[in-house]
Assembly symmetry: C2
Homo-oligomer: 534 residues x 2
């Protein structure tokens, strides 16, 4: 396992070549994990040689400021995460012993919020010194992030004895929106898997679960007002989420400081909606007759908007977050063009043959409906690419190629923006692929300081075509953590070679915590490997 980090760059370049002959000679080198280094890297981090020992039977978290269910459950959770694990004897034997640590004082200044929200204060300060271990934060959200950092600094020395170095951390996120998308339409994911993924997210300081819950393929959302949508649009009765399960997921995320932003994509990507909602989708024509195919939602019928009003009124109540993702990507105009009623509608509205105008008309009415239930909205970039007029507080998600140009355009027009183009985890390839995610930066585009400010973060996407319960966790982690660091840490933290040993530790830490986080740095091992129940 011994290698110099300098060799690493060479390894991941070499590693990308396929075929064992082409590379098998090269991987005697691997990455040696750090010990007790945090991921993502805090804004300011320094540690000393002072080593404090912790007896797990004597240690406790203590709330010295505001507290609430969120903080209490964090205390309980991290007792297990830090101390409840199998023994791992450290490789080094520290000389200096600066004393023992018996508690972490967590001092939250402001009263707890009930739910996390866009722009919540996640900053915190952490000090571990002879004078004690103190975590200060304005909000409970900052305390959550800080306790996670603390947990990553503590190392196990023997069954009961742990240790942590003297440390000073001043920390806050670079971006306020740090999201991960899972797709439960192409393949269904068990509630257990979604919760496991949320827990993993919290340990990399993600704060938004973008739940791409429905799409063309299936409609697993069980609606109160329209129960037939999942009955007829879901794969089957075992592949749907009940209202109780959705509430369970939202509550689990809340306790972890993670927002749940559901996506109900329209007018395209809505084939599964049409299975139960009569006349919702556009009938496609061949010549003068409907051909049995259906297109996007029919924007020419008032009934469509009646349905949407009732549907999104429900969504507004079910999902507490202020934002809903309304999709709006990949609207294919062919079916609209084929339909005589649409043609007549276009004429009546004086849209000529500009179907982008028709899309804009639909989007406009949808956005009004959603604003009407006091929700903000996120959309995929096409909506503004097609020049639909949207309200200024719309958040535009950039996902296509040439994203730097798009970021310039969208922010120039004054919209808040999220980047996901360069963070498609579903797009796998052979070898060490994480540096390409690590080196993509949302601020690397041509624009003014004001434009840069409009980039509020980004999202990494694991689309569901080829992942389900069997592989979604191992394929997502720790690759998603790479994006988490880009979104949390300082812009200057961008050297993949320097990050590799820390990522290696982070991956092994995730395995120690029970996640099947896959190997990302080539040959090597973890002190404790993932094991399956026999």
């Amino acid at each position: 396992m011994a290698k110099t980090v300098a060799l690493f760059l060479f390894v991941y370049v070499a590693g990308i070549v396929a075929g064992h002959g082409e590379y098998r000679g090269k991987e005697t080198v691997s990455v040696t994990a750090t010990l007790g280094m945090p991921w993502p890297m805090p804004q300011q981090y320094s540690s000393t040689q002072d080593l404090f020992t912790i007896n797990r039977n004597a240690f406790k978290f203590r709330a010295t400021g505001q507290s609430c269910d969120i903080l209490e459950s964090a205390f309980f959770r991290y007792q297990t995460i830090i101390f409840g694990l199998r023994e791992e004897v450290l490789k080094f034997h520290p000389k200096l012993r600066a004393g023992t640590l018996t508690e972490l004082d967590v001092n939250v200044k402001n009263k707890c919020d009930r739910y996390p929200y866009l722009g919540m204060d996640e900053s915190y300060n952490l000090t571990i010194a002879a004078s004690g271990a103190i975590l200060n934060s304005n909000s409970v959200w900052g305390a959550l992030r800080g306790i996670e950092t603390f947990s990553q600094l503590v190392l196990q020395q023997s069954t009961d004895m742990f240790s942590v170095n003297g440390t000073t951390v001043v920390d806050y996120p670079r971006f306020q929106h740090r999201g991960l998308l899972l797709d439960t339409s192409r393949h269904f994911l068990d509630v257990t898997i979604i919760k496991q993924n949320l827990l993993a997210m919290s340990q990399s300081k993600f704060n938004v679960f973008h739940w791409h819950i429905v799409d063309d393929q299936s409609f697993p959302y069980t609606s109160n007002n329209f129960p037939d949508m999942s009955k007829m649009g879901g794969y089957d009765s075992r592949h749907i989420y009940t209202q109780d399960q959705i509430a369970e997921i939202i509550e689990y995320a809340r306790i972890l400081g993670i927002r749940v932003v559901p996506e109900f994509d329209s007018p395209g990507h809505s084939q599964s909606w049409g299975k139960s909602i009569k006349d919702l989708l556009t009938k496609c024509y061949s010549g003068s007759k409907p051909n049995g195919q259906y297109g996007p939602i029919d924007p020419s019928l008032e009934s469509s908007y009646g349905f949407l009003a009732k549907f999104f009124a429900e969504i507004g109540k079910v999902f507490p977050d202020h934002y809903v993702h309304l999709g709006g990507d990949e609207v294919n105009f062919d079916c609209w063009k084929s339909n005589p009623n649409i043609t007549a509608f276009m004429k009546q509205k004086n849209f000529g043959t500009d179907y982008a105008k028709l899309e804009e008309y639909y989007v406009q009415r949808l956005l009004d409906i959603v604003s009407g239930v006091n929700k903000g909205y996120m959309i995929w970039q096409e909506v503004v690419d097609n020049n639909a007029k949207v309200s200024p507080d719309t958040i535009v998600e950039v996902w296509k190629n040439q994203y730097q140009l798009e970021l310039s355009k969208v922010t120039w027009r004054g919209f808040k923006t999220l980047l996901s183009s360069c963070w498609y985890l579903s797009d796998i390839s052979y070898g060490i692929d994480w540096p390409k995610y690590y080196t993509c930066d949302p601020h690397e585009f041509i624009g003014t300081a004001e434009q840069k400010k409009l980039v509020i973060g980004g999202e990494t996407c694991m689309w569901g075509e080829y992942v389900d319960n069997t592989n979604v966790i191992s394929r997502t982690w720790p690759r998603a953590s790479v994006v988490a660091e880009r979104l949390w840490s300082a812009q200057s933290v961008k050297d993949a070679t320097a990050a590799a040993p820390r990522l290696e530790e982070h991956r092994c830490r995730m395995i120690k915590r029970g996640f099947p986080a896959e190997s990302v740095n080539g040959p090597g091992y973890c002190p404790q490997e993932y094991s399956i129940p026999v």
Copy 2:
């Protein structure tokens, strides 16, 4: 989920394009699984509309011919595999009921062998009719293959009631060597994972576990004669296989009719050997001084052969199979060239500057040593590419590109050959990649009938650089099953579009049986999904 198979070809072409925009519009189509179709496809297979019901409480396997521990444990295993699963109600309700089935008579003609071997008779006939269900085979190995086929024909109708159609199967493998390689050097794999993989192999009729047990990175094999090899060459004391664990794996494979062929690769890929065996590896020189680097095993020292004789005498005893894989790939001559003692040795042997002659000399002596302990050997193609004289019964494994040319060459020279070039499962890519494995055929090269006969099969390889306990099963299955069908079924069974629905059923069947077999056909679902323990 409804789709016509005709659409499928389009889907997997479309599916390979990356980026959600480029493909998200296209995957409303997926593959609809077959019901009760076997994988791999038998040589002759026909079924009737006659439907026999089976009450799980009334059914039993009965040995009407020879029996032994192998057959008894198969009876026990398949009672659970077929009947011990959660309920799945069938989607179709058969009209015809031709009666009930209360037993499968398994009639093995010849006394059981203790261990499976190259060329064992795996043929069997299976008949399910009003007259009863009978499985005939010459050997117990054929019975194992036939019982697996039977288990795949049985479908569950309700908690206790199962059904099977009238069926006639005449079956035997197209190739006698059907292998899967796992690499436990780049990443260690738990015994539990290796056993789970062996069980999966048996359900796709693989019959050889090629255990690439050691390599440059680590030496997890615990040697009786040289215990320091794993002590110093293993990653650490938790990443080695004890003799008891190796025996456990061999026994588990035996019961499943799977041969265990260990690979001890030399003279290259042996860096981990050198950590404990003094002077085994060639000292590399810079100018007139050793530079601290080591190359392949030093062929100029008698001590090397003394070690190899003692080491392979042990291997010959530990592994019951007649064959050992001796590697021989990717020998880098640079270090040999730099070493003055080697230069002197070359001179003394009149090898001139032809280091291939030196390699041949080493290989010759190694092969003599291994023959001396009555073992046959497999080698990677380079050994014969470099024109080393090897004994005529050597099995040459072709793994490099341009494999068709290589197959022609190697068989022309009269060697038995295995193909693995086109079956590297470790070389992943986005989308539906299995058709490229499915359409590769070991007989598609220019050669005489005699040459074709020399191709005794092939192996699919999951190299260990990027897989470990966390993802090796999900990444290997069901992709490896695609190769299993190519190696078992008739050459004419090669239409990926036609195979897709059967592969879809096979994948869901594996999930039902507890394997995290990943999605390979794009969006869709299984009646029972894989679930992780909470």
